[in-house]
């Protein structure tokens, strides 16, 4: 009897700190996001007025919101596709071929993943610098030096692609390591028999490698959506600040600015709700579309 009581007490004291911390800093703020999206509230005063869906209707009339929506979609599409292709190709090269320095390449490719986004932003801002940057200096080898420097971060049409360049640079290694791990589980015998039948490398890649890591690919598709939305926020805040003239404003940077800098808290949270629902829906749709029969090795 005493033992039972001790067991209950032990469980309680082990679990309580985690539950308390989790509730205060994760659950309550999450509920707050949804609740406050229905209020008009400056945040700093106590004057909250319930406005129902007004924040949302205001949101759908805002040009700025549509701009950030457009930019986010563009980034999700471009960054995901390019990163996916590169990560998959490099993973299959590194795990399928017998190469010298395999480990060396894996170590190098993973480096961007351990750097702070601020560090990467600082490095890329320097690379993109119109006058003293590496990129323009490199391009000047091929074109006349008198032509105008390209404003990688200053031109509204180019800046979003410059941003995605930095994001792809950061993400390739992470997904590559992930694909390599699941490729390592594919039995060698499958490739050997394919070799005997005379199937080429590219054919093997599409008919063995891709189908057998399909589950893993599907998981990473969800990651791509969620992490592009998050990473674009981190990059934008450190690199462009949403500029020039809103050309790189993305979902969460717009939300942060409205809620924190502009302190229209209720409106900002409404943006958060929409973005959350959007990313959830997109992930669900992708999940359904990519459903295939599960293959066993």
């Amino acid at each position: 009897m005493n033992n039972r009581k001790g067991r209950g007490r032990f469980i309680f004291f082990c679990l309580a700190p985690a539950v308390i911390l989790f509730t205060i800093f994760l659950i309550i703020p999450t509920i707050d996001v949804f609740r406050m999206s229905l209020y008009k509230w400056g945040g700093y005063t106590d004057n909250k007025t319930f406005v129902g869906m007004q924040n949302f209707s205001k949101l759908f009339q805002s040009d700025k919101f549509y701009q950030s929506f457009q930019n986010s979609i563009l980034l999700i599409v471009v960054v995901s596709i390019v990163t996916f292709a590169f990560a998959l190709i490099f993973a299959s090269m590194l795990s399928r071929e017998k190469l010298k320095g395999q480990n060396f390449f894996r170590i190098i490719f993973y480096i961007p993943n351990i750097l702070s986004i601020v560090v990467i932003s600082a490095i890329f801002s320097a690379i993109y610098d119109p006058n003293s940057g590496l990129l323009n200096a490199f391009l000047n080898l091929f074109r006349s030096a008198t032509s105008d420097p390209i404003l990688w971060l200053g031109d509204q049409k180019i800046v979003i692609y410059s941003l995605s360049g930095a994001m792809i640079w950061q993400a390739i290694g992470y997904y590559m390591v992930m694909y390599m791990a699941s490729m390592a589980n594919i039995p060698e015998s499958l490739y050997e028999s394919a070799d005997l039948e005379g199937a080429g490398r590219i054919h093997q890649f599409f008919s063995i490698t891709i189908p057998l890591i399909w589950t893993n690919i599907r998981t990473t598709l969800t990651f791509f959506i969620i992490s592009t939305i998050n990473m674009s926020f981190l990059f934008v805040m450190a690199m462009t600040g949403g500029g020039p003239d809103g050309a790189t404003e993305v979902f969460l940077s717009y939300m942060y600015k409205e809620a924190y800098t502009n302190s229209s808290y209720g409106y900002g949270m409404a943006i958060g709700v929409i973005v959350f629902l959007f990313s959830f829906a997109l992930a669900a749709i992708l999940n359904v579309v990519t459903k295939r029969e599960h293959l066993e090795y």
């Binding site: 539950v19 309550i28 707050d32 351990i114 601020v118 560090v119 926020f233």
Partner: protein, 294 residues
Amino acid sequence: MNSEHQHSSNKLYKFFIYLLLIALAVVIIVPVGWAFLASIKQDVEFYGSPWALPEGFHLQNFADAWQKAKMGSYMLNSVVTTAIALVLLLVIALPAAYVLARYKFRSSSFWNMLFMAGLFININYIVVPIFLMLNNGDKSLRSLLGQPFLLNNLFILALVYAAMALPFTIYLLSGYFKTLPKEYEEAASVDGAGYFRTMVQVIMPMAKPSIVTVILFNFLSFWNEYIISMTLLTKPGLRTLPVGLMNLMAAQKSAVQYGQMYAGLVLVMLPTLILYMLVQKKLTQGMTMGGLKG
């Protein structure tokens, strides 16, 4: 004849692969290496070709960044915050993960599900609500004690970091605890060890590899984090390293102090690079073990 042809095309293919691999390696190494070189250049050198090697070791940049730009004191803030957050995280997550993985009780599946659901909560959405919560708390504290306490406090920042890392850490650790056979607890109980002693002296030492993985990952994410830090530390003197670097980036745009900026950049990334070089194998293995990161 045919096999010879195949052999040479094979060679060509290998050559092509090496070319691609080396190209990507160059694309990754050059920007990072360039930042290192730029950190020892003098400001005037930046007007020349960006490909030029530094003329000498201009270490004054580091002294300037450390003192004038206060990166030294920001580094201390970062070290303190990261250390406290790691200790808090381990002290709180280890017992919780252990109990959730190995004890069945009435509400255990509820808690398991709750922490799993936490994996989907994203910090970037809730950082402003957290700021307002702490700000409101400060307001009441001011009228109560005459002194705000919650914002601009490294300990609270560390507490928030630890809370953010809880779901994933518990997920990772309890995944490991589930793999241990039940006999360990039974044997310990026969020896007369209580619940607490069994956990601390029998189970924890076995979990060391997972604990190391947890520390590595969270060190990187705490050290590199800047959105929460930027939001919760509003006093200019109180910053963590990445936020200090953002400041240097902004300052460099108006007053041309390239060298100092690159020196600050090196200060932020050097600790993570050194750690990575020491434990890279563990890190990439651990990543595929957990398979998920914010």
